[in-house]
């Protein structure tokens, strides 16, 4: 549950919020990632009143309230401010009407003042709330950017994920996070992975210990977050398993309801994992550009077979 207190603690400074009244309501929960300007509702239109949203009072709302007579002012404000209203924010440091302060104080609705304009507040808070409300999952794996492709390397402990990542860094690719990756679904359609603040850009390499990649290789080797495009699972080589030999069939895995191309990469001495991961990433780019190596080859092969068949038939006649 996301509380007004959380919003204030995390983004109070960024949004330049100043608490004026209703401190007792800081534990109110924000249930919808939406912000509302109550213009029409203040004017008396009570149908489909959006209740569980943060209210932003801008220039229009404030000047309209000021023009009303005291009794209807109180009446209108009471209809807009319901028990489900998480908080009220006044834009541009306007002085709040005393009725508004009174209602907020009595009902424990946090009332803030901010220096920004209502439009800026609306867009900034919506962005923050969408980010906070987007579904997320913590995954075990290493996220790297290889030729611009976000690759999540997964696999059992000690299969060599971190070592592969280190090899990729050495070739000029970038690390987002080692071992722990927080994956978020953005706008319901794509995934973004990032590292937890505390262990950001740190790696644990067996036999060496914890190293800070950003310090060792420089800022060019790291980035804070990256869209997740493919998942590669490193696996100990198993002779009985039949690994993909042609790549005609594409496998996918499901992360937060989004299917992501999935490759199983068997590891054994002599196989250069770093080079293989680079190749998978490049091949993925090629597919994105509309060229599917395996499929194109298969089409060409089928055409050749068909032509030879025709020739054979013609020769027989």
């Amino acid at each position: 549950m996301y509380l007004v207190q959380n919003l204030y603690d995390q983004y109070g400074k960024y949004l330049d919020l100043e608490l004026i009244a209703g401190e007792s309501g800081m534990h109110r929960s924000i249930k919808k990632p939406e912000v509302h300007r109550p213009g029409l509702s203040l004017a008396g239109y009570r149908k489909s009143l959006p209740t569980a949203r943060i209210l932003v009072f801008g220039k229009v709302e404030i000047s309209y309230i000021r023009e009303l007579d005291p009794t209807s002012r109180l009446d209108r404000l009471k209809t807009v401010l319901t028990s489900a209203t998480p908080a009220v924010i006044i834009a541009r440091y306007y002085r709040p009407p005393k009725e508004l302060v009174m209602i907020c104080q009595e009902n424990g609705i946090p009332l803030f003042r901010a220096s920004m304009s209502a439009t800026t507040l609306l867009s900034k808070i919506t962005f923050i709330l969408l980010e906070e409300f987007s579904p997320s999952v913590t995954m075990h794996g290493t996220l790297v950017e290889v030729f611009g492709v976000g690759v999540l390397i997964q696999g059992e402990s000690s299969v060599g994920k971190s070592e592969a990542a280190l090899g990729l860094l050495e070739r000029g690719h970038r690390l987002i996070s080692d071992d722990v990756v927080k994956v978020k679904k953005r706008e319901g359609s794509y995934l973004v992975g990032s590292g937890p603040e505390l262990t950001r850009h740190l790696m644990e390499i067996r036999g060496i210990g914890i190293i800070n990649v950003a310090h060792l290789y420089g800022a060019v080797c790291v980035r804070p977050d990256k869209g997740l495009d493919i998942v590669i699972k490193l696996e100990e080589w198993d002779d009985r398993h039949f690994y993909d030999r042609v790549g005609l069939e594409e496998k996918f895995c499901d992360i937060l309801g989004i299917s992501i191309p999935f490759h199983i990469l068997p590891v054994k001495p002599g196989r250069d994992v770093v080079l293989l991961i680079e190749t998978i990433a490049l091949n993925h780019r090629l597919k994105d550009m509309g060229y599917h190596s395996a499929k194109e080859f298969n089409v060409k092969l089928l055409e050749t077979i068909a032509k030879r068949q025709e020739k054979r038939v013609a020769a027989k006649r």
């Binding site: 913590t138 075990h140 402990s157 080692d178 071992d179 722990v180 937890p196 505390l198 262990t199 740190l202 790696m203 644990e204 914890i210 198993d238």
Partner: protein, 100 residues
């Protein structure tokens, strides 16, 4: 590899443990935990404040930044789940060999 039997598969224990040493789960205790798990085959997960991580990864344990007296939910899954939990409980109880 041998396929786990039905009985082995169903072995799953969820247990809550309290961190007792003063400094919490810092680098040394995390190393102790990972070393204990190295000799077992079960999958072990730590859950703290809605975050679930693989306990075989030092970075994952460190990321949780669990302090003293905080409760940690431990999920062990696999054939040797019981002995894993026994070892973990004793490590937590003995404060991972730290004095305070």
């Amino acid at each position: 590899m041998k396929r786990p039997s039905e009985k082995e598969k169903s072995m799953r224990i969820i247990h809550t443990l309290k961190v007792k040493n003063d400094l919490g789960l810092h680098t040394r205790p995390a190393t102790v935990i990972v070393r204990i798990l190295q000799s077992f085959r079960s999958a072990v997960y730590f859950t703290y404040q809605r975050e679930t991580v693989n306990a075989r990864s030092i970075m994952s344990i460190l990321m949780l930044a669990v302090g003293k007296n905080c409760s940690l939910t431990i999920t062990v899954e696999g054939e040797d789940a019981e002995s894993v939990l026994k070892e973990l409980v004793s490590a937590f109880e003995t404060k991972f060999g730290e004095k305070k």
